[in-house]
Symmetry: C2
Subunit: 104 residues, 2 copies
Amino acid sequence: MPIASTPSAPYYAVIFTSIQKEKVEGYASMSDRMIELAAQQPGFLGIENAREEIGITISYWDSMYSIKLWKENAEHRIAQERGKLQWYEHYTVRICLVQREYSF
Amino acid sequence: MPIASTPSAPYYAVIFTSIQKEKVEGYASMSDRMIELAAQQPGFLGIENAREEIGITISYWDSMYSIKLWKENAEHRIAQERGKLQWYEHYTVRICLVQREYSF
């Protein structure tokens, strides 16, 4: 997974930070599927992901409306429910307006 | 490292996404020192970090002014220069306004 190549700011970011349960059966394939599915959503700009002690997934979007559509996507909703039951001990979601970006 | 325990939105986030060079001598100790140093800065709210193929570090701040002070911190500036020379193949910095947060 490379660094996401996003357009000029402003745009939106959803930061999803999580602590997993000890057993996470079925997680990897669902996670891959969600990344594939997000990329097909309107307004999707990119995604970045890494996990050590905590997992961080950041998805980038063109608008709050696109974030809302993704949150309400039927297959994504099923994954969200399974996540709460099976995979996540705890998570935090932060909805952000990206105001400035620079690269090296 | 736990999930950052941040106050009610709005507040700010700096998303630092990076690809490292193959040899990163001295990186781990500098990274630990920067986390320690950031935590002493005015307006610091928390930090989250994970690295796999890419590294993601998110620091949270009370204001744009606190972010500016941290960017200009003398020891941090030295680390930024060393980072460009020695450790990072590529990085992107995104300055964000966190508008909404929820947890499970």
